[in-house]
């Protein structure tokens, strides 16, 4: 009896999560896959016809927005790594007793909805707002100068909103480093730069990897930042999908675009994992 129980235990443990995934991930995915191959219009209904042209037409019509999203995603991710690493490094190695305070401060913005925070940036950066207004009055900037509606505004918003997603995993990886390992490096006559390059950074890589996973995917698919801070020349693929679903009721194109985006992101992530040496990374990340 005990044996049976022991054998069933793992399945019983996996049951709630499995059911959840089936219901809220697998079923919608199949429904969306079906939608992406349908044909028709919203008044007369969409019918399933294996209409693969939805995919080719979507790529043809919206490749520029797709490419733009990936470029924004890549730029934002690189900036995130550059900004997050020193912060995580400082908290992990020099945080001391204040570590919980620093981490709390990092997470504090999450107590306010990120849409609200993004909209407040809009108020701050607006053409005649508290930042640009005085500079224009002083004649330091031309009257038509603006930040909102440009690519830097959108990428800045993305970086701002996703910074904690990069800091936390890197922090966790750095935190785990045994100080004795770093001491050993120093004992072996590695200067600080070398011990960082050869010891600390490689040990922090799983954290960077996790951070990239947690930020690059949502950043590339984001639509709020471009919607609020951008203009029609910064349209990202998330906005296109949103518009197809919620403005044009063109569900097939929207679904096809979602699958294309998913495929592109998966390929990108796997290529990145491969480049870093997947097995190592996964093993260390799972530790």
């Amino acid at each position: 009896m005990d044996r049976v129980k022991r054998r069933l235990a793992p399945y019983l443990l996996i049951l709630p999560g499995g059911l959840w995934l089936l219901l809220f991930f697998a079923v919608p995915m199949i429904a969306m896959l079906s939608l992406s191959l349908q044909q028709g219009d919203v008044v007369n209904g969409y019918r399933f016809t294996f209409h693969w042209q939805n995919y080719t037409e979507a790529i043809e019509a919206y490749n520029s927005q797709l490419i733009r999203s990936l470029i924004y995603g890549a730029i934002a991710t690189v900036i995130l790594i550059v900004l997050a690493f020193p912060v995580a490094y400082y908290i992990a190695f020099y945080g001391g007793k204040r570590k919980p305070t620093y981490l709390f401060l990092l997470l504090l913005p999450f107590f306010v909805s990120f849409v609200l925070r993004t909209i407040s940036w809009r108020q701050i950066l607006t053409d005649e707002g508290p930042v640009l207004g005085p500079l224009k009055d002083l004649g330091l900037l031309s009257d038509s100068y603006h930040i909102l509606g440009t690519a830097p505004a959108v990428i800045g918003g993305l970086v701002y909103n996703f910074l904690p997603f990069m800091v936390l995993p890197i922090y966790v990886a750095l935190e785990r480093i045994d100080p004795r390992v770093v001491e050993a490096a120093r004992d072996l006559y590695a200067n600080p730069a070398t011990s960082f390059r050869k010891v600390i950074f490689p040990l922090a890589l799983p954290g960077v990897f996790a951070g990239v996973l947690m930020s690059f995917v949502p950043v590339s698919a984001d639509y709020v930042n471009s919607e609020v801070l951008g203009s029609s020349s910064t349209t990202m693929i998330g906005q296109v999908i949103q518009a197809q679903y919620l403005v044009n009721s063109d569900y097939p194109t929207a679904s096809a675009l979602s699958f294309i985006l998913m495929a592109v992101l998966l390929i990108g992530i796997f290529a990145y994992a491969r480049a870093l040496g997947t097995e190592d990374v996964m093993k260390v990340a799972a530790r």
Partner: protein, 415 residues
């Protein structure tokens, strides 16, 4: 795409060539998946070209009773925020009104309520004000609009301007009666622009580079592209659309357009993000009134468009009788007059003009001048000269034509 994968003969050819046990299994799995996929179809409600059956009105209205509450969906800036008309209505009839400014653009509104209406569920509103854009046809052709019982609209019958019953999108006002009409023209900040503007071409003026706002609604945008080239939208062809789209693309690639806006253009103009923008007639008047701004609005020499926002009752409304009672209330001359006094859009009740003059006579000083200005305003009571400059929207005969139009202009907005 040369080979059509959905072609059965193509599929047969593919499957017969390499048919083995494993393939058969995989195919049966695929077929199962195919069936599962096909089961996820999206239902449409289309009855193309259908007009209401003769007994549709009786059928819908039979057995409907007052519930003493009505949920009303409207656009922002479309009523005095104190809602004096609704308060009066509730006091006189005992019907309470939940008034929500939830409609910002026609496309999203249709997309939002379409699934519920297609499933026969209530959308939470008994009354909604929708524009005569192509989504109006989508609502009507999907059978989402209740046919109106004109015997329950005595004030409308007595007071509405007869011209409205002839509008092409709903001849005879079978499914809708007007809430207000308005014009799409141009608004600008004279202090920043530094001169008086009168033309559509001003939206293409390189002097306003990065300071021009256009509408994100493809119909509003396309109309202006067409009229800038001297083409009447209502008579335009697909070739005209392409020319207009090119003209608009140039405006964008030259960096003249700051962004494409929905109702938020009022805010963008207020913040100085744009200096000159496509605009709806009454909004600017209200903005000036409420925020003390001094923006100008005009109908361009080359032409502007006229549209009508319409009262409609969704077919799944829970309180249609309360809704139609409220509709008719807005056709009382005094109610129509006070509404027009505030929103400054074209009132569907011509007698309201006289009523506003009467109201003005009771006032004195600045208030009186302001009120008389409304009675004489060409934006609220357009003259024949004004009407001659105004065009109707592009009308579509088929869903395909509408999709073509959408595909022509949408890439400009979604850049």
């Amino acid at each position: 795409m040369s080979a059509n994968i959905s072609d059965p003969s193509f599929l047969r050819g593919m499957t017969q060539r390499r048919f083995g046990r494993r393939d058969a299994l995989r195919l049966s799995g695929l077929a199962g998946l195919g069936a599962a996929l096909a089961a996820c179809g999206v239902q449409g409600k289309g009855t193309p070209g259908a007009s209401a059956a003769p007994d549709a009105v009786e059928k819908f209205w039979a057995g409907k009773a007052l519930t003493k509450h009505v949920d009303f969906a409207n656009w922002p800036l479309y009523m005095d925020p104190k809602k004096p008309e609704l308060k009066k209505f509730t006091a006189e009839t005992g019907i309470s009104v939940n008034y929500q400014e939830v409609i910002q653009e026609m496309g999203p509104w249709f997309a939002k309520v379409q699934p519920q209406l297609a499933a026969g569920q209530s959308i939470g509103y008994d009354l909604m004000v929708i524009t005569n854009s192509f989504q109006f046809s989508q609502f009507r052709d999907s059978g989402f609009l209740a046919p109106l019982d004109h015997s329950k609209l005595p004030n409308y019958t007595k007071n509405a301007a007869p011209a409205y019953a002839k509008e092409a999108f709903d001849p005879g006002n079978v499914y809708s009666v007007p809430w207000a009409s308005g014009m799409t023209g141009i608004a600008y900040d004279k202090k920043k622009v530094g001169r008086t503007l009168t033309k559509l071409a001003d939206l293409w003026d390189p002097a306003f580079k990065g300071k021009v706002g256009m509408f994100s609604d493809t119909q509003e945008l396309g109309n202006f592209g067409l009229m800038a080239l001297g083409i009447d939208p209502a008579k335009s062809t697909i070739d005209d659309w392409k020319k207009a789209a090119d003209h608009l693309k140039k405006q964008k690639s030259d960096g003249i357009v700051r962004n494409y806006y929905d109702q938020s253009y009022v805010d963008a103009l207020g913040k100085g993000e744009v200096w000159i923008t496509q605009a709806w007639s009454g909004d600017i008047f209200q903005k000036n009134l409420s925020d003390g701004t001094e923006f100008e609005f005009f109908v361009p020499e080359e032409g502007g468009t006229i549209w009508t926002d319409n009262f409609t009752i969704p077919i799944t409304a829970k309180a249609p009788l309360d809704a139609i009672t409220l509709i008719d209330y807005f056709y009382k001359v005094d109610i129509s007059a006070t509404l027009a006094e505030y929103i400054n859009y074209v009132a569907p009740v011509p007698a309201a003009q006289e009523q506003i003059r009467k109201d003005a006579a009771k006032l004195s000083g600045d208030d009186k001048t302001a009120m008389l200005a409304i009675a004489d305003s060409k934006l609220v009571f357009p003259t024949d000269a004004e009407y001659s400059k105004l065009h109707y929207y592009v009308s579509f005969d088929t869903a395909e034509e509408q999709q073509n139009y959408q595909k022509t202009f949408e890439p400009i907005v979604l850049g």
